[in-house]
């Protein structure tokens, strides 16, 4: 479930980008989970047309996924199918990451590709023709060479998986079969939430909406384009068509966006997040070890990338020393490394803290652990800043121990007077950074302490959302001030103030981008 400030932050982003009405619908769906149209109308107290339009905006920008859900009819009646709308929280957050995505593309491809990605990011989903049309307007003449170049670049982007076919517009989720549902039926529940936990429901919908692997990244060069229509069939709704009829009220809401004959394209956020995840892993390795280790680690990522299927992959495929070496010498920094040297770096990578595991003479990247190291660094640095050096030691002691420790034991381990130790511990406990348990043995009472990393991560993430929201609100506030100054004219004494405001905005914006990296470490990776 998304945390309280996660929702507030997402709604804030939507308000900034699409105004308060769309944000209202988004807020309702984030708080209540997937709903049918009539329920959204009821909760938001907006007119049905208005809600429909808001939903269309969200669909157009890939922040909403409609789906059909089969539910038990009850008392011998036939099963019914409802059409529900689900906000894609992650995709809402991605909206502040567009500049990062474009930076990635610009490192690999030329300007035209970056422009294509920018167009798609701006418009959400478009047909190839719509994309190219935009370029035709902005360039003088529309030579066929230009269209060819556009197509080729589009082809490159799809091949690199940065662009994909839009998901199926309204995937159908059937009731689980008898065996699958058995343990749940006993609970006698009927609603969507009953047979699928919300998180898994979201995952099921997303999985069901992905176009078949062969189609998802298939972009055919079409010499006719520009003169003719894009003729590739979107097979997406064919399997849901008959189900649609069952729920006449809600069906076809996305009809305006997705003409079934036309293939729509969008940016594949998943691939970008995967690249960003790799980047963070490399930086974590560099910070803990050195540049050489980072170079070898990068080579391992490159060698295994094509095999990676999910974003949250826990570990890479096994790689042999030779295949890693072959990849290392491809890079400029690794060109003069010898095989022996690469092996010694691999040994370093696989000793504590292990970023790489050795299994049967092969090396496997331990993503899960690498991300955890990055998370721990973040949390520890907050503890240090918030509660001081001694608290930092206590916290590290407790998180390494991973179990309850008594005050005296902690005080002995970190060489701090018992009273002071107890004091700091209880401060951290009040701030929810530690758990405490009382143990009463006869007349004496002992206090036991523990770090619950799982809860703490969630809590820190919520604080991050809160902080990101605050940064964004402050940026807006500073912008207001800037506008006022501009209104008065930036000469004389105002000039200095104006320059200062520019610096302030820069600091706020860059802090927000860094904070967003940290949010990804805790949420997306």
């Amino acid at each position: 479930m998304v945390s309280q400030y996660g929702i507030k932050y997402a709604v804030h982003i939507i308000t900034n980008h699409f105004g308060p009405l769309v944000a209202k619908v988004c807020d309702c769906l984030l708080k209540k989970g997937p709903l049918p149209l009539r329920e959204i109308v009821r909760y938001t107290e907006l007119s049905e047309t208005l809600v429909r339009n808001c939903l269309l905006v969200l669909i157009q920008h890939n922040c909403l996924q409609p789906f059909l859900l089969e539910e038990e009819g009850g008392f011998g009646e036939v099963n019914k199918v409802s059409s529900l709308y689900m906000v894609l929280f992650d995709n809402v957050l991605h909206r502040v990451r567009f500049s990062k995505f474009m930076a990635i593309v610009s490192q690999e491809f030329d300007k035209l590709c970056v422009d294509l990605i920018e167009t798609l990011l701006q418009h959400g989903r478009l047909s190839a023709e719509q994309i190219f049309d935009g370029f035709r307007d902005s360039t003088e003449g529309s030579s066929s060479g230009r269209v060819e170049a556009l197509q080729e670049n589009m082809h490159k982007l799809v091949k690199a998986r940065y662009v994909e076919r839009c998901p199926i517009s309204e995937p159908f989720l059937a009731l689980p079969s008898e065996e699958e549902a058995a343990p749940v039926r006993r609970r006698g529940a009927k609603s969507a939430k009953a047979f699928l936990e919300l998180e898994t429901l979201e995952q099921c919908v997303l999985v069901a909406a992905v176009p078949p692997e062969g189609m998802r990244f298939l972009f055919e060069l079409n010499p006719e384009i520009g003169a003719d229509r894009d003729k590739v069939e979107n097979n997406s709704s064919s399997n849901t068509g008959d189900k649609r009829k069952l729920d006449a009220l809600d069906s076809n809401i996305d009809g305006g966006v997705a003409d079934k004959q036309v293939v729509l394209w969008r940016v594949n956020f998943e691939e970008f997040i995967r690249r960003l995840r790799h980047k963070i892993c490399i930086e974590t390795v560099r910070a803990r070890l050195d540049d050489e280790a980072a170079t070898v680690f990068t080579a391992m990522l490159d060698a295994s990338r094509s095999e990676e299927k999910k974003i949250k992959t826990a570990s890479s495929v096994p790689l042999s020393e030779n295949s890693i070496y072959a990849e290392v010498i491809k890079s400029e920094k690794g060109r003069n490394m010898t095989l022996d040297y690469v092996i010694s770096v691999l040994v370093g990578l696989s000793s504590s803290p292990p970023f790489v595991r050795v299994v049967d003479n092969s090396y496997i990247i331990d993503f899960k652990h690498t991300i955890e190291v990055a998370q721990t660094d973040e949390v520890e640095s907050i503890v240090y800043k918030k509660y001081g050096k001694d608290a930092y030691r206590m916290f590290r002691l407790l998180s390494k121990a991973g179990r309850l420790l008594e005050t005296d034991k902690i005080s002995d381990s970190i060489f701090l007077e018992k009273k002071e130790t107890a004091n700091i511990l209880s401060k951290m406990w009040q701030g929810d950074y530690l758990q405490m348990e009382k143990l009463i043995a006869g007349p004496t009472q002992f206090l036991l302490w523990k770090v619950n990393m799982m809860n703490l991560r969630e809590r820190v993430l919520d604080d991050m959302f809160h902080a990101a929201l605050n940064l964004s609100l402050r940026v807006a506030y500073e912008l207001e001030q800037q506008k006022e100054i501009l209104h008065l004219g930036v000469d004389g004494p105002m000039k200095e103030k104006y320059e200062k405001l520019k610096k302030v905005r820069f600091l706020l914006e860059s802090s927000r981008m860094k904070l967003d990296d940290a949010i990804m470490i805790f949420h997306d990776f």
Binding site: S381, L397, D463, S511
Partner: protein, 258 residues
């Protein structure tokens, strides 16, 4: 050069009067024999009774209130006798680490047990932070110079410093190394027998130097720790349009004032 100078200063600090007893240290908890011409002969009846009670408690000693109960003597007699016994150097007052406020006595021939003194790291009832810090510095420098080192190597090298004439045990050094791990200055690793570990047998636990910063160097501030909200004590009261908000926030004001 700087290193030698510091070591010299440290040794000098340890040799100054206050540090002297430290150097005899807990590792030499020798019992002093009562002098031959013991003044214990010249005790009156009350003093003798009290002395026996205190002495029977050996290295644990006794709190005055318990003493009074056990000896069944009135307060003023006890107080007077205690003074007399102290003057005759038969008993001494010690700090009980468990309860520093209580007056606690022990026969002179005993050294306070670990429960009373607090153990190896305590000096007169307080943590001997100066001694601990010195040891931490020495261990850190030792590991920093060699890159990686085993517990034995660190202990030996410290015990072999000519300027450091107190023997520390392996266990003490291990405790010190644990705190250096918590400070993120060193980390515990297992030798793989290669590269920098070549001199250490495969699989043996050793300590590796990690931090480039000073002792207990500050960890690199993460994204959240670098902005006011990350360490804000008011974050739970802060709302977009509330009394405490990012628009009116004093922490932001300070942060953005450049």
């Amino acid at each position: 050069m700087d290193y030698l100078l510091r070591l010299y200063n440290m040794a000098a600090a340890m040799l100054k009067p206050g540090g002297m007893s430290r150097l005899q240290g807990p590792s030499s908890l020798k019992r002093k024999r009562p002098e031959v011409n013991s003044p214990a002969q010249s005790l009156n009846e009350h003093e003798r009774l009290l002395y026996d009670v205190i002495r029977s408690k050996q290295d644990i000693g006794i709190w005055t209130r318990d003493m009074k109960k056990e000896a069944k003597l009135p307060d003023n007699v006890v107080n007077k006798s205690l003074k007399a016994l102290q003057v005759k150097k038969l008993i001494k007052e010690v700090v009980n680490i468990q309860n520093k406020g209580r007056k606690h006595f022990m026969a002179t021939e005993f050294e306070p047990s670990k429960e009373i003194s607090g153990g190896a790291w305590y000096l007169e009832g307080s943590l001997d932070t100066e001694f601990i810090e010195s040891l931490k510095q020495l261990c850190k420098r030792q590991i920093e110079r060699s890159g990686v080192a085993t517990l034995e190597a660190v202990t030996d090298s410290i015990n072999s410093y000519p300027a450091f004439n107190v023997d520390v045990t392996k266990q003490q050094i291990e405790e010190i190394l644990r705190t250096l791990i918590l400070d993120n200055v060193i980390m515990e690793v297992k030798s793989n027998g290669m590269g920098e570990f070549a001199s250490i047998p495969f699989g043996e636990v050793c300590y590796k130097y990690v931090s480039k910063g000073g002792l207990g160097g500050e960890p690199k501030a993460g994204a959240l720790a670098s902005i006011p909200c990350g360490v804000c004590p008011r974050i739970s009261q802060c709302t977009p349009d509330g009394i405490i908000s990012p628009k009116t926030c004093v922490y932001y004001q300070k942060w953005l004032d450049f």
